[in-house]
C-alpha cells in the first residue's frame, strides 16, 4: 500500500504456478487459440483461487466470446461492469466456466473520444439489459444492440449525462440536494 504511484500495474496480482495449475492450463490454452485478440499485459491468473483476468482488443470481443462459448461451454454470463480510467473507458465482461469452475473476466479499453465496441447480446441474450445499463451510466456504446432504451435512469434524464463517470458534475445538484433537509422546490 505504499506504492500508490503506478496504480495500473500494481492493481494486477498474478499468482504463482503452484496451487493454480487448472487456471494456468486454461489460460495457456486460451492464449494459444486466441493469440492476436488478447493483449499480454493485463492477462493473468489472480492470486484468489479460480479467477482469470484477460485483456481483449475491443473489436475482437465477439470472436473471443464465440470461441469460448463453442469450445469451453461458457454459458454462464454474470454481468458487465463499466469503469472510468481517466482517458479510457473500460468494460469488463464477467463469465463463469461451470465445468472447470473458473470465473473469467474479459476487459476491453475504449478511448473516451470514441467509446464503441461491438455488442455480444445476440450471442449471450442475458447481456441485453446490462449493456443498456452500461451505456446509459458510462456512455460506452455497443454497436448493433437490438433494443436500446432507458433502463435505470428516468425518462427525462438528458442523454449526454453519464452519472458514473468520475468527472460527472451533477448539473441538477441532486447529490447535494438529497443531503439537505426541508422542502425542496422544483420536484
Amino acid at each position: 500500500m505504499s506504492d500508490t504511484k503506478a496504480d495500473e500495474i500494481t492493481e494486477h496480482h498474478p499468482a504463482p504456478r503452484e496451487g493454480h495449475e487448472a487456471e494456468y492450463e486454461l489460460l495457456d490454452e486460451m492464449i494459444g487459440d486466441l493469440k492476436d485478440s488478447l493483449i499480454e499485459e493485463g492477462t493473468y491468473v489472480h492470486k484468489q483461487p479460480r479467477r482469470i483476468f484477460v485483456q481483449v482488443h475491443p473489436e475482437k470481443i465477439r470472436n473471443v466470446v464465440q470461441h469460448m462459448l463453442d469450445r469451453y461451454a461458457m454459458w454462464q454470463f454474470i454481468t458487465v461492469s463499466g469503469r472510468d480510467l481517466g482517458d479510457d473507458l473500460q468494460a469488463c465482461y464477467h463469465f463463469v466456466i461451470n465445468d472447470r469452475k473458473i470465473a473469467i473476466t474479459f476487459r476491453l479499453n475504449v478511448p473516451r473520444s470514441k467509446p464503441e465496441h461491438p455488442t455480444i447480446s445476440d450471442l449471450v441474450p442475458a447481456a441485453e439489459f446490462i449493456e443498456n445499463e452500461v451505456r446509459e451510466l458510462f456512455g460506452i456504446v455497443q454497436v448493433g444492440h437490438p433494443n436500446v432504451r432507458r433502463i435505470e435512469l428516468p425518462e427525462d434524464w438528458p442523454a449526454t449525462e453519464y452519472p458514473m463517470r468520475k468527472d460527472w458534475e451533477d448539473p441538477r445538484g441532486l447529490m447535494k440536494k438529497s443531503r439537505t433537509t426541508g422542502r425542496k422546490e422544483g420536484v
Binding site: E152, P163, M175, K177, S178, R179, T181, R183, V187
Partner: protein, 219 residues
Amino acid sequence: MGFFQKLVNKARVKSPFVFHFNSGSCNGCDIEIIAALMPRIDIERFGMKLVGSPRHADIMLVTGPVSHQIAPRLKRIYDQMAEPKFVVAVGSCACSGGAFRGGYATLGGVDQVIPVSAYIPGCAPKPSAIAYGAYKLLEHLSEMWGLVESTPIEKVPIREYKRKADFLPHNCDTDDMEPPPDSVIQELFAPVGDESKNRPVLSEDDPTMRKRKELKKDE
C-alpha cells in the same frame, strides 16, 4: 359535531384501512409491515386492514427513499386517496433518505413530495414498532376529533421512589414533596455488591482489548 359525524370519526379511528406503498426501498420495511399482519403481532385486531387500492384507504404507509422515477407516481397515488388521509413514513429511508442520502437518484425522504403525519424511524422498525407508530397516530387523531372523552383514561398514581435517579434535581417536583429520611437515602446510595458486574462483557484477555491497549501505547 353531530352524532353521525362522531360515529364516522369513531369508525375512522377504530378501524382504519391501510394502504402500503413502496417507493424504491430495500424491502426490509415492507417485510416488517407484512410481518405486523402475521399472527405474532396481529394489527388486524386493532381493526387495521390492508387494502389494495388507495381509494379505499385512510392511512398510507410509505417506505423507501423516494427515487426520481417513482416520485410522480407517489404524488398521483396520494391525490387518489380520499379525505381525510394521513401518511405515515415507515423506516429511516422514508423519514430522511436513510443510507441513500447524497445519491443522485433519491430525493431524500417522503416529505419532499407529500405531507407526512407520522414518522416511524428504524432500519427496519420492528413490527411492534410499526404497530406502536400506527397506534400513536390513531391516538393523536382521536384527541384531535374529540373522541377521547368517550374512552376515559385511568389515572395511575405516582410510583414510590425506588431508584437513585428519582432523587436527581431535575426529576423532583420540589413544591409538594417532602424529602425522604436519611436512612432511605443511605440505603439507596450504598454500593450494591460487586460494581464490576455492571461492566460490558469483554474479558481482559480478549485479543481486541489487547490490541486496543497496544494502539494506545503507540499513540
